[in-house]
Structures are given as C-alpha cells and as structure tokens.
C-alpha cells in the first residue's frame, strides 16, 4: 500500500468513537465525532501555501486532503470539538513508503506541523510528529474498507514519558450524509 492508496481508502465520512487514556491519573475520556476526509487538488491554494511555508515544491506533493471533524467529549459536555485542517503527504523520492506529512494550522490546531510517516509492510500508516515540548506518534490501519483503527500516543519531547494513549475506531458512514 502506498500513500495515495492509503489516502484513497480514507476518503469519505467516518463515525468515530475515541477513548483517551490519561495515564498519570487513569482517567478515561470518551469522544464521539464525525470526520470528513476530502481529496484536494495539488493546485489548491491552501496546499500550495502550505508547501511554500515548508520550502517544498508543491509538485512533489501527493494526494493532499482536508480533514474536518465535529464531536463531543464526555470530559466537557458543553464543548463541541470541531476543527479542520489541510494535510499534504510529500513522499521521499528514494523511499516512497516514507515521507513527510505537512499539516496547516487550520482552525482548532494550535500550530502547523510537519511529521514523518512511513507505511509498514502490513499496511499500517505510522506518523511521528515532534513539537516543541511534546511528540505524537500515531498508527492508523484498516481492518476492512469500512473500519479503520487509530492509536495516538502523546509523549514528552524526550520520548520517555507517554502522557496520553488514545484509540479511535472509525466506521465508514454509509449514508454519506
């Protein structure tokens, strides 16, 4: 599976159940959300701007997409969680199963970020993103075309401590609406 296929499989509307484990105090958080993943053109102005901000030639980008989400957490019943961002994969020219994933600030993200991804031989997408004071590691894989799993770990920046481990099961919304 290459990154284009992975993005292709991901397009659509997903109904997500996510559990976050806040490890230090053994707290469970439950989040239900709807996620929309829509393909973008490499000619899209947002894609071009994001590539430029990382000094990357937009022609090396592959299968850019927009991800939007809207949901509710049991942590804070009054807050609706919503956001949207543009994501742009830029495969390594020499090792096409690896590359960078650029993400714009969009709304609801605090900063833009560039992570490093790779696809394992069993089709798991692994993304590692370093921030100033933290690092995130994410694994996403398809169980079947209509179910994907996502495990995200938030670590302290030195990589030793894991603060939050979360798991999302995402079912394709067949209604499409």
């Amino acid at each position: 599976m290459d990154i284009s296929e992975f993005v292709q499989h991901s397009l659509g509307r997903w109904r997500s159940q996510r559990s976050a484990h806040h490890l230090a105090f053994s707290h469970f958080e439950a989040v239900k959300s709807t996620i929309d993943i829509v393909a973008l053109s490499t000619e899209d102005q947002g894609v071009i701007d994001l590539c430029k901000s990382y000094d990357i030639d937009p022609h090396t980008a592959v299968s850019p997409f927009r991800m939007s989400w809207e949901g509710e957490s049991d942590w804070d019943d009054n807050e609706v969680i919503e956001g949207s961002c543009i994501l742009v994969p830029v495969p390594d020219p020499d090792t096409p199963n690896r590359g960078k994933l650029l993400r714009d600030q969009g709304y609801a993200e605090t900063v833009a970020a560039a992570g490093n991804y790779h696809l394992t031989e069993d089709g798991t997408f692994v993304l590692v993103t370093e921030y100033d004071r933290a690092a995130a590691e994410e694994k996403i894989w398809f169980v079947n075309p209509n179910l994907r799993c996502r495990v995200s770990l938030i670590k302290t920046s030195n990589g030793t401590g894991v603060v939050t481990a979360s798991f999302a099961s995402e079912i394709r919304s067949l209604s499409g609406s």
Copy 2:
C-alpha cells in the same frame, strides 16, 4: 524480536486501562485491571497437559506463561472481572516469527483455544484466533519497556463484521506489589 523476547518483555505486573467500543450501538465500556504475567516451565504439568490436548510435543513449546487478571468494568459495577489462563507459544520450525499460541480454559475463559500468531518486522505481536461463531484479532506492541498497547477486535466468524474494538494501555507496575 522473537516470541521468547516478547514474552520476556511482558513478564511482570501491569496496570491496565481498557476501553471497549461496542460498535453497533456506539457504547463505550471502561475497564481497569491488574494483570500478572508469570513465566512457567515447559515441565509444568498444566503446560504439558495443554500441549497434549492439541497433540503437540511439549518440547516444541517456547516460553510458556500464566496470565491472571482482576479488574472492574463501568458496565457492571458489581461484577469483579477476574481470570487466569496458561498460554503456550509453539513457533513454526521453519518460520520462527510465526506459530501457534495455545490457551487453556483456565477460569473465566469459556473454551480452550489455539490461535495463530506472528511478529511483524516492527515488533508487533499479531494473534488471530478462530472460534465457532467468532474470530478475534489482537495486536500487542511495546511503546517502551514499561508501556504496552493492545488492540483487540472481535469479528463475526466470516470476518466481515467487527462487533467490538477494544484498546488497552498497560503500564508496568513498578511497585511490583
């Protein structure tokens, strides 16, 4: 990583936070438990009996262990979840990163079972177990020596429908008590 190393890394006491997503009705279940994993000898009578029941030479078994757990679910506050079973890896002679994992009925398991495991190149243990009317797929990996993640999927036996997706984050209990 081979199966002996994987079992070796798993020995000890773990504090587990597990979330089960019951997909059909978007229900979240939260379980907290303590898991003990203890090495057994290949001379252990329980190990020998389990091998015999599957017509397997006990000398081909590697790193057998006992797993015990005790916990509480928010699904039913009054019920204490506890159980214990013996697990016996039997590597394939030709492909040592693959093999069978035998499990006895112990207490709290409804039936004995033999699953097929393999270890991926990135050190993930993958176990597929077929039952009469269901199949289970489990992935376990270490984030660091003191944190392991476990994703379990319960599928209908034809493999198309996933009924439950669950995720456990397991932290080594350093107190050892």
